[in-house]
C-alpha cells in the first residue's frame, strides 16, 4: 500500500516542480505581496515591523490558497482521478499524499522564504526565527484545509476563488495563533509556547479531517 502512496507523492512533486507546475509561483506571489504592502502602508519601519508577522502570515495564507484549486482538478481533467479511485490505497491516504506533496512544493518554500521577507519588513532576528517556526508548523494546516475546498470545487471550471472563499473562514484560528506565537516570541504578555502548540495541534487535526473530507467530496462526484 505504501507503493501507490509514494508514487502519488513523487508524481505530484515532479509535476509541481516542472514548468507551469506552480511550485515557484507561490513564493513569487508571496514576495510580490510583501513588496506591495509597504507601498500601501508607507515606509514607516516601526509600523511595518509591528504588522510584519501579520503580513507574512496573510501572504503565506493567500499564496497557499491560490495554488490549491489545481490539486484535484488537474487529475480530474486528465482522468488520473479515476485511476486513483481504483488504487489499492484508500482515497483518504491518497488525498493525504497529495496534500503532503503540495505542502513540500508550495508550503515549504514559503517557510524558507519567510525569514528573508521578514528582513524586508524590518523584523528583528528573534522574530525571524519565530515566524519561520510558526509557519513551518502552521502551513500544513493551511494545505490540508485547502484540500477540502479543492475537492469540493473539483469539477467546477472557475473553482479557484470559490475554494478560497470556502476555506478562508476555517483558516482563521491558524492565523490567530500563528501570528500570536510570533508576536509572543518578541516578549510581552503573550506566551510563545501556548499558541505555537495550538498551531501544531491544528495542523495535526486538519491532517486527519482534511483528507477524510476531501476523499468524501471526491467520491461525491462519482455518484
Amino acid at each position: 500500500m505504501i507503493a501507490p502512496l509514494r508514487a502519488v507523492f513523487l508524481r505530484d512533486l515532479r509535476i509541481a516542480f516542472r514548468v507551469g507546475g506552480g511550485a515557484g509561483i507561490g513564493v513569487v506571489f508571496f514576495l510580490a505581496l510583501v513588496t506591495v504592502i509597504p507601498f500601501a502602508v508607507g515606509p514607516d519601519l516601526p509600523l511595518l515591523a509591528r504588522i510584519g508577522p501579520a503580513v507574512l502570515w496573510i501572504g503565506a495564507l493567500l499564496a497557499s490558497l491560490l495554488g490549491l484549486d489545481r490539486i484535484f482538478s488537474a487529475d480530474h481533467e486528465d482522468g488520473s482521478l479515476d485511476v486513483m479511485l481504483l488504487a489499492p490505497a484508500p482515497l483518504e491516504l491518497i488525498a493525504a499524499a497529495k496534500g503532503a506533496a503540495h505542502w513540500v512544493a508550495t508550503g515549504l518554500p514559503l517557510v524558507i522564504a519567510a525569514p528573508l521577507l521578514g528582513l524586508l519588513l524590518g523584523l528583528e532576528p528573534a522574530l525571524l526565527g519565530a515566524i519561520t517556526l510558526t509557519l513551518l508548523l502552521g502551513t500544513p494546516a493551511l494545505t490540508f484545509l485547502g484540500l477540502v475546498g479543492a475537492a469540493l470545487a473539483v469539477a467546477l471550471p472557475r473553482g479557484g476563488l470559490l475554494v478560497a472563499v470556502l476555506i478562508l473562514p476555517l483558516t482563521i484560528p491558524v492565523l490567530i495563533f500563528g501570528v500570536a506565537a510570533t508576536v509572543g516570541a518578541a516578549g510581552g504578555p503573550v506566551p510563545f509556547d501556548m499558541p505555537l502548540r495550538l498551531v501544531g495541534a491544528l495542523s495535526l487535526v486538519t491532517f486527519v479531517i482534511g483528507p477524510v473530507a476531501a476523499a468524501a467530496a471526491i467520491r461525491n462526484i462519482r455518484d
Binding site: 477540502v148 470559490l162 473562514p169 491544528l202 479531517i209 462526484i221
Partner: protein, 242 residues
C-alpha cells in the same frame, strides 16, 4: 440514468400547505407580544434605551447559530441516513440562517455605535458571528456552483460538517484572541445583566423568530421541491425530444 422523483414530498407538501400560515401567524403574534413586553421593561441603567436593540440582536444570534446546527443535522441526514428531504431542508435553511446572522451583525453595529463609539468592535462575540456569516456565504456559494441537486447536496453537507467541527475551534481562538486585544477601559461588552423583566421578552422574541424561521423554512422547502420538479420535467422533455 433514472430520473427519480422523491416520493416523500407529497406528504410534505400537504403538511406545508397549512403549517406555513399557522407558523407565520404564530410568529407575528409572538413577535408582537415580545416587543410589547420588551418596551414595557425598564431601560438598562448603563445602556439606556438602546438595550431595546438587544431584543432583536440576541435572538437573531441564537437563530443564526441554531439554524447552522440544523443544517449540520440535515447534512448528517444526507450523508449518513440518506433521507430524501434532508438536502432540501439544508438548502432551504441556508439563506434564512444567513439572514438572521446578518441581522445580528447589523443590529450589533447599530448597538455598538452609541454604546462603545464604534460601529464595529472586534469583540469575541461579534467576530465569531462574522466568521459564521462567512461560513454561510461559502455554503450559499457552493449550492449555486454545482448544478445536479443530489451532488450539490452531498458536497454542501461535507462542507457544513467540516465547518461545524471548526465552530468551537473558531470560537475558542476568537475568544482567546479577543482577550489579547482587550482595550484598557473595559465596557460591559457582555451586555446588561439579564433580569427577568428583560429575559421574558427576550425568550418570547426568540420563540417568535423561531416560528418565523419555521414558516419561511417550510415555504422555502416547498419551493425547492417544486424547483426540482421543474428540473426533472425539463430533463424529461429534453430526453423525449431526442
Amino acid at each position: 440514468m433514472a430520473f427519480y422523483e422523491l416520493a416523500n414530498p407529497h406528504r410534505f407538501m400537504t403538511l406545508a400547505r397549512w403549517l406555513v400560515p399557522v407558523c407565520a401567524a404564530a410568529a407575528v403574534a409572538l413577535l408582537a407580544i415580545g416587543l410589547v413586553l420588551g418596551f414595557r421593561a425598564p431601560a438598562d441603567y448603563q445602556q439606556g434605551e438602546t438595550v431595546r436593540i438587544m431584543y432583536i440582536h440576541v435572538p437573531a444570534a441564537w437563530l443564526g447559530l441554531g439554524i447552522y446546527t440544523l443544517m449540520a443535522i440535515a447534512a448528517l441526514g444526507t450523508l449518513v441516513w440518506r433521507h430524501p428531504l434532508a438536502d432540501v431542508a439544508a438548502k432551504a435553511a441556508a439563506p434564512i440562517g444567513a439572514g438572521f446572522t446578518l441581522i445580528c451583525l447589523l443590529t450589533g453595529a447599530l448597538w455598538g455605535r452609541p454604546m462603545w463609539g464604534a460601529y464595529w468592535v472586534w469583540d469575541a462575540r461579534l467576530t465569531s458571528m462574522l466568521v459564521l456569516f462567512l461560513l454561510y456565504l461559502g455554503i450559499l456559494a457552493l449550492w449555486r456552483a454545482i448544478e445536479e441537486p443530489g451532488q450539490a447536496g452531498r458536497a454542501v453537507a461535507i462542507l457544513t460538517l467540516v465547518g461545524l467541527i471548526n465552530v468551537p475551534i473558531v470560537k475558542f481562538s476568537v475568544d482567546w484572541w479577543n482577550t489579547l486585544h482587550q482595550p484598557a477601559s473595559v465596557f460591559r461588552i457582555d451586555g446588561p445583566t439579564i433580569h427577568p423583566a428583560i429575559l421574558t421578552p427576550l425568550l418570547v422574541m426568540a420563540l417568535g423568530f423561531a416560528a418565523l424561521f419555521l414558516a419561511l423554512h417550510l415555504a422555502a422547502m416547498r419551493n425547492e421541491i417544486l424547483r426540482r420538479r421543474v428540473r426533472t420535467l425539463r430533463l424529461l422533455a429534453a430526453a423525449e425530444a431526442c
